[in-house]
Amino acid sequence: MSQNLLEIAQRVAGWAGDGFDVEAFVAHERETEVRAYGGEVESLTAASAQGIGVRVVQQGRQGFAYAATLDDDTVRETFEEALDNSRFGSVDEFAGVAEPDGLEPEPLDLYRSELAEFPTEDKVALALELERVTLGADPRVTGVESAEYADTVYESAVATSRGVAATARETGCYLAAYSLATEHDDTQTGFGFSVGRHPGDLSVETAGTDAATRATRLLGASKGSTRRLTVVLDPYVTARLLGIVGATLSGEAVLKGRSLFADRMHEAVGASSLTLVDDATDPDAFTASAIDAEGLATRRIPLITDGVLQSFLYDTYTARRAGVSSTGSAVRGGFKGTPGVGAHALSLTPGTRSQDEIVAGIDDGLLVQGVTGLHSGVNAVSGDFSVGAEGLSIRGGETAEPIREVTIASTIQRLLLDVVEVGSDLEWLPMSAAGVTLAIADVTMSGT
């Protein structure tokens, strides 16, 4: 299959002509999703989808078109449309498609044939079992809003008229449960999941009991009082925060005057305990990939080392414009989009102590289990950071009463500098960042 996709991509890239370059990105995805509810299968989706995105760069002008079918006529029309669109772009001397840079992609093995061979009945059984385990984990769990098994087999190819020809294939699957817990008229919710490359990696027990624990431990939660305190972010929350930090380190944001850290290279932007790396070649990362969205090899990029800013992320265009080399950081949201710059797989270097040990050293704090409104209250340009939060209060070194309906606020700049400690509990999550416990001082909790 990957070879077929590459043939299509190379055929289209071969249509490049006098004075214009072509990039073709072709993807095919097969997915299954099973949702259980009330002891029955609520829905089962079995589907495959494919498509092509064609980028034409003509004398510095860029055009793009996509189509969700791969028949010959449509592919040709898509190319013609991209070519036509390129007439209307502005001239940009740095625009262009990727060229081979001599770096060989790591031989990552991200494909598991066990997934493709896993029978549908067994997928259904996993979803039903997940609902049972979640419901049975605690008598206060009164419902399971959703219990889901999902998997995907993804293959892609990218080729350019400058000689790039690359393929990737991977499998992935996850279990996700969302539970409802009730006690004395109070309802709380919690999620749990388990991810892997094939169903053998998954743990129904982990997903189900995490969902139950997260909901039940919030029962009876009340609003905290407004004050400054130390927050301890659960690994999942840290991973979401890292996603925002990654966006501020994009070479595109730097070049276009939208990065907080544009003028801070080789300066201390974080606490000395903070070392941040983007490494898609780590096979344990859920978003691991040997190639980036332009077909160049991914690599390990130290972004912040001991608090000092070391590098930004670049794709082909931004690297040319900045006069540096691509860091293999092109990303795209499928075949419908042009490549942009982004982090693939961020992680903090873990510390030495567990979450419990970190909590034990905090007098007044909040263990943050979940955050909301990252899209509405965080501005990666200004640095303003304000999100809804829920979790457990920390008093005298121990977790105490549950807290809900509060916000935690600071700025992205301050959060990095105010990091007190990174936990030892690094885990890869179904997103482009790893989770780890993270303690940050001097954050405003707003409540009553």
């Binding site: 829905s43 078109a65 709380q188 409104g373 209250g377 640095g383 999100v387």
Partner: protein, 463 residues
């Protein structure tokens, strides 16, 4: 898009091994967009997306498959996959015949975007860029986006429904960065309608750009937002997001049925201040959440959800309505043929009150005035929700004073509805939004007059 006979045979194939319900949803979507950033027209994009989703319901189980292959063979394969997915256990064969070719009134589009030259679309971007930059040297970056989409859908099902719709939407947005001694700030403005290029008869892109620039410049002098509970006045149009999150999602029948809503079992009860009447209305011509039929073939409708503070009904899609033995309210929507439909909002709004908006502010000794909101999120089971403020000011001694920086506000839906104590007479629709639920995004509109909530928690850092 598809012949009735092909649809008949596809539905019959879907029902072959026994099913309670089968449906074919076909979609042909063409879109175009252009993006300007950093002074350059970076890309002009065209897209074509076409396919069908087939749903088969057996008992409590829905089987679903989709295909980009609209040939009869492709549809038959998808129908077989959906039927197999529904895990049917035998049953009577049923031959389906769709007949009633009921075509709703086509949505009025005066200037189809596909007839507008690409160069004209691109010219809007450069005009917006120039206008924003003319606001002063502190405007250091501008990006602008034009987008249009035409979505033709066909829905046919085993109850004999066979209907179609042709939906055209056009959108324009502009974002600015202003830089000063205090760092960088952003400002954004957007306009979108279920309409064609005539959108720009109503909206002047240069004026939009100047507004976005002014928003960014104003925030350069903004102080940190306050923290703690206080009265919050939301300007006209802006409050729609608040209701969308505070109660809109909680009134979706699929969440209610799973007891995942703080409003479950409360129909007929007083849930909001008496002055509050909340409506979801997919028939509002031209509004961003408008359509002829929903994605299950049901005509859009005007549904009163809360009347004078009393909860009157939830929003329904076909599956949930069928279980309750009632009709869908026309709220069954899906992002594309690759997705299953679920209950979604359309244009959700609060009807006008009778207060003068100036009096509402003058009556507020201290608090926060939110002029523009920036999206939100809700946990429907607990009712806790957040929404962002992208343009906000302090209210001091009954007057709007200093601008404050961005942040979220947090509240609890059922509590906040009872804490509304003033509604203005200046109703306006807000900005076009994309509502996300379960990984699917659909266009929605919202609106409100100026309103006041007696206490909401403002998520800033200042004391």
């Amino acid at each position: 898009m598809l012949e009735a006979e092909v649809v008949n045979r596809t539905l019959s194939a879907a029902m072959r091994t026994g099913a309670d319900f089968a449906e074919v949803f076909a979609e042909d979507r063409r879109s175009s967009s252009a993006i300007l950033d950093d002074g350059r027209v970076e890309e002009v994009v065209s897209g074509r997306d076409r396919g069908a989703g087939i749903r088969v319901v057996v008992g409590e189980t829905t089987g679903f498959a989709h295909t980009a292959d609209l040939s009869e063979a492709g549809l038959a394969a998808a129908a077989g996959a959906a039927a197999a997915a529904a895990r049917q256990t035998g049953g009577a064969r049923r031959v389906v015949e769709v007949s009633s070719l009921e075509v709703p009134r086509p949505l009025a589009v005066r200037v189809p975007p596909e007839d507008v030259p690409k160069s004209t679309k691109v010219a809007l971007l450069t005009a917006a860029d120039a206008a924003a930059r003319s606001a002063g040297p502190a405007i250091t970056q501008v990006s602008a986006r034009y987008g249009d989409g035409r979505r033709r859908i066909l829905v046919a099902d085993s109850d004999g429904l066979f209907t179609s719709d042709d939906q055209v939407r056009t959108l324009f947005s502009v974002s600015c960065v202003a830089s000063g001694d205090t760092g960088m700030q952003t400002g954004r403005e957007s306009a979108g309608r279920t309409a064609g290029f005539e959108l720009f008869d109503l909206y002047d892109v240069e004026e939009m750009a100047r507004r976005a620039a002014r928003r960014a410049l104003t925030k350069l002098t903004a102080r940190p937002a306050p923290s703690g509970e206080m009265p919050v006045v939301v300007g006209p149009g802006g409050g729609g997001v608040l209701f969308h999150e505070a109660c809109g999602h909680g009134l979706e029948a699929d969440l209610v049925a799973k007891s995942a809503s703080a409003f479950a079992g409360r129909v007929g009860e007083r849930v909001a201040a008496e002055m509050v009447t909340l409506v979801d209305d997919g028939t509002m011509a031209g509004e961003w959440g408008h359509y002829g039929i929903d994605d299950e073939g049901k005509p859009a409708a005007r549904n009163v959800l809360i009347s004078d503070g009393v909860l009157t009904d939830y929003m329904w899609d076909r599956l949930r309505a069928r279980k309750e033995g009632r009709a869908s309210s026309g709220n069954g929507r899906r992002q594309s043929y690759q997705h299953l439909p679920m209950v979604r909002m359309t244009n959700t709004y609060i009807e006008n009150g009778d207060a003068d908006p100036d009096d509402i502010v003058a009556d507020t000794p201290h608090g926060v005035y939110v002029a523009q909101l920036g999206g939100g999120q809700v946990n429907t089971a607990t009712g806790d929700f957040v929404f962002g403020m992208t343009e906000a000011y302090l209210i001091e001694n009954g007057e709007i004073t200093a601008p404050v920086r961005e942040g979220n506000l947090i509240g609890n839906g059922p509590e906040v509805l009872t804490r509304i104590d003033a509604l203005g007479n200046d109703f306006a629709m807000g900005s076009p939004g994309t509502c996300g639920k379960d990984g699917q995004g659909v266009p929605v509109g919202d609106g409100t007059p100026t309103l006041r909530v007696t206490a909401l928690t403002v998520g800033g850092t200042a004391a």
